[in-house]
């Protein structure tokens, strides 16, 4: 990967929680990078610290050692450059869909006319125009996540961080959301770093999979998904029909099981 194409890098990020006497090592020397316009997936078994790593990238937590840099500059604390979509529903219930999407731009002093235009564009992009003036309380889980995605994208971050964004949704809604995310990537060319433990989701969405091992979280391998190169994936069915898909899923499942087996006493 050419260096100028890199947007985000983590350099030997380590994280230890707790006191000196009862310390829990969550991450050890994790280094990887995300290229511009890439959809990078952080995958690994539970306890591999992938969510912690994402929080560090977001600036919500500080690494114990190591650093994260965006566009070559070391990050300190959260900023609008690294917008985050959470697994829990984070639409503000007292704001309508439109006001939710407009929210981030309002914080950053975007003028009203531009705010309205951008909000409307991204509400359209996530197919929620019909619900523009609805309160989140009246929306389904999938729709709430779409609001969160539109809100973050409308704020024009350098990179979109997603922490198991579809984890709380039922299977059918999850497919729709995954397909919609690929649609969005195609039109907006957003760089995305997404955490998941769902192997199929990872293969379907990823340009690149960063696989972490558990206890403590370390970089195990980076998968480039050669079999997907050049294929146009519109739906889950396209993916499953692709030669090499099953082999890839089998490989990652084996990786996952090997890691999970290491910490069997945890279950």
């Amino acid at each position: 990967m050419p260096l100028d194409d890199t947007i985000l890098t983590t350099n030997n990020v380590s994280k230890t929680f707790g006191s000196k006497t009862k310390a829990v090592e969550a991450l050890r020397d994790v280094s990887f990078s995300v290229a511009r316009n890439e959809l990078c997936i952080l995958l690994g078994p539970s306890g591999c610290g992938k969510s912690t790593l994402l929080n560090i990238v977001a600036g919500l937590e500080d690494p114990t050692s190591g650093s994260v840099s965006l566009d070559g500059e070391i990050i300190h604390g959260p900023s609008r450059q690294r917008g985050m979509v959470f697994q829990s529903y984070t639409s503000f219930p007292w704001l309508t869909v439109f006001e939710n999407v407009e929210y981030g731009m309002k914080l950053n002093g975007v003028p009203k006319a531009e705010r309205t235009e951008r909000a409307e564009k991204f509400i359209e992009l996530v197919h929620l125009s019909r619900f523009r003036d609805a309160y989140p309380n009246t929306l389904s889980g999938g729709m709430k996540q779409r609001v969160a995605i539109a809100r973050t994208l409308a704020n024009e971050p350098e990179i979109l961080l997603m922490d198991e964004p579809f984890g709380a949704l039922d299977a059918e809604t999850r497919w729709h959301m995954q397909e919609m995310l690929l649609e969005i990537v195609e039109t907006t060319h957003t760089t995305i770093l997404l955490v998941t433990h769902d192997i199929q989701e990872a293969i379907f969405l990823a340009d690149k999979i960063v696989f972490l091992s558990a206890n403590p979280g370390r970089l195990k391998t980076v998968l480039d998904l050669e079999f997907k190169k050049g294929a146009e994936l519109k739906s889950k069915e396209d993916l499953i029909a692709l030669p090499g898909y099953l082999e890839c899923e089998r490989e990652i499942t084996a990786l996952m099981r090997a890691e999970a087996g290491k910490s069997e006493e945890d279950y």
């Binding site: 977001a58 919500l60 984070t90 929210y103 914080l107 309380n137 299977a171 769902d198």
Partner: protein
Amino acid sequence: MTGTIGQSTTPDKISGVAKRSMADTSSKTPRRRFFEFKKDIPTSWSITLGVAVWVSFFGVWEFAVWQQWANDILLPGPVKVLSALYTMFADNGFLNDVLISVWRVLLSFALACAVAIPLGILMGTFRTVEAFFSPFVSAWRYLPAPSFIPLLLMWFGAGDMQKLSLLFIGVIWFLITLITDYVKSVPADLIRTSVTLGGNRLQVLRTVVVPASLPNITIAMRQMLAVSWTYLVIAEITAADAGIGAVMMRAKRFLHVDEIMAGILVIGVLGLMFDFLLRQVYRFAFPYLEGRH
């Protein structure tokens, strides 16, 4: 993973079956029983039952008076109490006393809120603010407000200041504690969302913490306003020349039990009115919560 693959082949069929079976159960209405575990009842039932309890209460009361179970000076009938209430309002200027009491409650409560709401919000948001104030607030919470009455009487005499400060002390500590807890329960992810969208501390406080906790703050106010009425009566009974409690104590001196009961009735009605009012405020101010409460 295998679960999702299996489902993907026949999603329509599965949901179709589920819908049909649901329709089947709802078409058969089983015979309704009077005692049913945790089951909703029709509105007509709850209205009838709600009226029935009051009819029984007044019925038993009137019956007891008619049967002369107690001296009728000590136990006047409901009709006598209502006519005493009428006389009090029409001839004795009771309205003035009611207004004085309402004013005492509202002013002291407004002052308590003016302190408790900002402080509770800050304590619930910032652990440092909480660590500073919490030991102080908790200690005061365990001191019964009426124990300050002798002190307040010496400081402020029997005037309004003594009443207002008792009512203030009576609710402020609980109000702070309740609001702090409610603010603490604002989901962390809402705050983290705002921060990763570029919100600074003041913006997060103003656009997330405050609006997210306002509905619960209103609930805390409703709960503590009821307590405020309790302290009002205590304050007015111990020393006062005006107000509902003072009128009741004067009535006691003249053995006017009907007037005492009328006073109790008025306090009850006022309490219900304010509760209803705050309920309406809640519904009006937070329309987005419709259907959740």
